[in-house]
Each structure stands twice: as C-alpha cells, then as structure tokens.
Symmetry: C2
Amino acid sequence: METKDYFRYIVNEIHTVVVATVDNEGFPVTAAIDMLDTDDRSLYFLTAKGKEFYDRLKKRKFLAFTAMKGKDTMSRVAVSVRGKVKELGYEKIPQLFEMNSYMYEIYPTDESRQALTVFQIYEGTGEWFNLSKKPIERESFVFGKENMETRGYFITDNCIGCNKCVEVCPQTCIITATIPYIIEQNHCLHCGNCLTVCPMSAVERR
Amino acid sequence: METKDYFRYIVNEIHTVVVATVDNEGFPVTAAIDMLDTDDRSLYFLTAKGKEFYDRLKKRKFLAFTAMKGKDTMSRVAVSVRGKVKELGYEKIPQLFEMNSYMYEIYPTDESRQALTVFQIYEGTGEWFNLSKKPIERESFVFGKENMETRGYFITDNCIGCNKCVEVCPQTCIITATIPYIIEQNHCLHCGNCLTVCPMSAVERR
C-alpha cells in the first residue's frame, strides 16, 4: 500500500485515533481525536483554541498517533504516524463539519464553533502493523519531505551463524541461508530478542 | 465509579490501549499495548527488553495511554491514564500468559519469552470521558500516592454575568444562577471556548 491508502484507511475505516503530545515538563499526554479528512498527502483534524492540547500543538508542532482496528489483539491492525503539524485556522471548519456531520452534535451552534481551528499533519513517517497475519506483517511509509525512517534490527558481518538469535525469535523471521543471517524486516516484531542474546553483538538497531 | 472499576474496565472490556512515551529528542511515540492485569490499584503490561519502547520506559519511568471503546465517535467511551511505571521483571510473565493465552501466539516458545519483562503502572491520574451522553460526561480518578490532578476551567470573581461564555459553550454546562457563573465540571468538554471569549478574563485553567 502507498501513503494515500494508509491515510484513507485511517480516515474512513478507523477515524478515531489516539494522539500523543508532550507537556511543558516533557511528559506525554494522550487523547482521542478524529482524523476528519485526507488529501492523500496529509491528514486533517480540528481542535478548540482554548484547549491545552492546542497549546501543546502550537509549541512543539509535532504529534504521534496510533489508529487501531480489530476486535481483539490477534485480529488487530494498527497504523502509527509521527509527524509535523501546522495550524490552518477556521477556513476548512465548515467543510469538515459537512463531511463529518456528527460534529454538529458536539459543537451544535455557530457560536460554539468560532474558536475551532484545523491542523494539518503534513510531513512525517508511519508504520502499518498487522498482528492478524502469521508471521506478523509490518510496512513503513513516509509523507511530505521526510526521509524514510528505517527502524528495527539488522545483522552485521560479526555474525558467526551460531543460531542463538533464531532460537529466541518469536516470529521465525531470521533467514539463515547465508552468513550473516538476514532479518525479514516486514515480519519482524521488533522485540529485540536477537539483539539481547547475540554473543557477537552482531545485531544492531537501525 | 472508583479507580478499580476503571482499571477493570480497561483490562477486561478494552484491553488494547494506545500508549505514549517520549523519545530522546523529546517527541512523542505511540504504540498499541495490551493491559494484561490489574490488582485494583495498578495496571500490568509486558514488553521485550530489546525494544526501544523498553528503553524509553526505563529512562522516563512514565507513560500516558488512552483506552477507547465504541463503534463511532458519538458512542465513544475513552479512559486516559498518565502515571509512573516500574519494571518488575520476568516473575509475573507466566501468570500473565496464562491469563492472556493469545500471547502464546506472539511469543510461542520458552526461548522467545526469556527477554520479556513486566511493568506496573503504580501511581498516577486518570480521566473517564463519555461522548455518548448529552451533555458529555467526564470523571477524574487517581491511584497510588498521586494527588488528584484538577483539570479544566473555572470562573473567578471577575465574572460580570455578561453571558458571552454561555453563548459559545457547546455543552451548555455553565450554570448562571449565581455570579460568578459556575462550570459543571463533569459535563465540560474542555474546549476552552469560555476562556477564549470572556471579556473580563474571568475564566481560568485549573
């Protein structure tokens, strides 16, 4: 899937996500927020200017969120996004309310909507994580100008093929056909068990 | 409801929550995590020692999470918790796997479970937020030694009863029987519209 597919999935299939910002003391704060629209390259949500959430967005201009779907852990799909935000103001509010008419129940009067403002998540990285597949599946994506963030673990030339990493890998996603061994990135749980047990310190984080 | 009721609701009715930690640069990171058990005073979850998530927990010893339930925004219940965490180690792992047997599918072998470790969220604050009620309902709670965190907005003696706040309040939760007006805390959306429009600066954040 491409970035636009992930964004459409977030807006149309999940919609309410959990957003994290950071407070003045450097500690995380979470809240449920609806992703109201996408133009395939970015995401749009709204908040009220009187909220502390608004102040945190204006200060750091950054957020992280995870969108989840699935009735239990083993059928779960999660999309996590981290990126930069900018405030667009009131202009897009009427359009977002038309597209998401339940918002009229939360802010029912014109007066109550005057202090609302739209934010755009315009640049960042994301990860799709599917626990319903065996082995699990994950994909990274990027939007805006951000370079692809490479995460996870890889095995260096220090590998001696001793198999200790294979023994502790919960997803059996280490290919042993050649030395150094190779981690199948799209099936890796990122548990880091391989890094923990390797006697040669051959496993490194990206 | 009491803290133990919120914790039981999180573990038994929601289970998978979105947890936020903060990276070395001070930016938030989110991920889906299962809350596996509660003793009515704290919550328990596990992670692997090789994960970056583990390093962030060890460094800040703090997390925030939001647990959501409901098929759409207007039927949504969300419980948000912020608090201190401590690592308990491997001892409780077998018990947590017995209670949550699907975890055997993610970490299927004894070897793959050796680097797992349990964390306890032992002190903090929480908020219950119910958007399915009109006006909305919210309740705060506390656990461990943390003092109750009072959030939201209140109206000071500067209030002149001009009614501007009433006009912009989306939840009509400002009582005008006496001056200063009073905000019904358990129905307040925390949008801060009242603070934004008050000509007397009579509305303050707690």
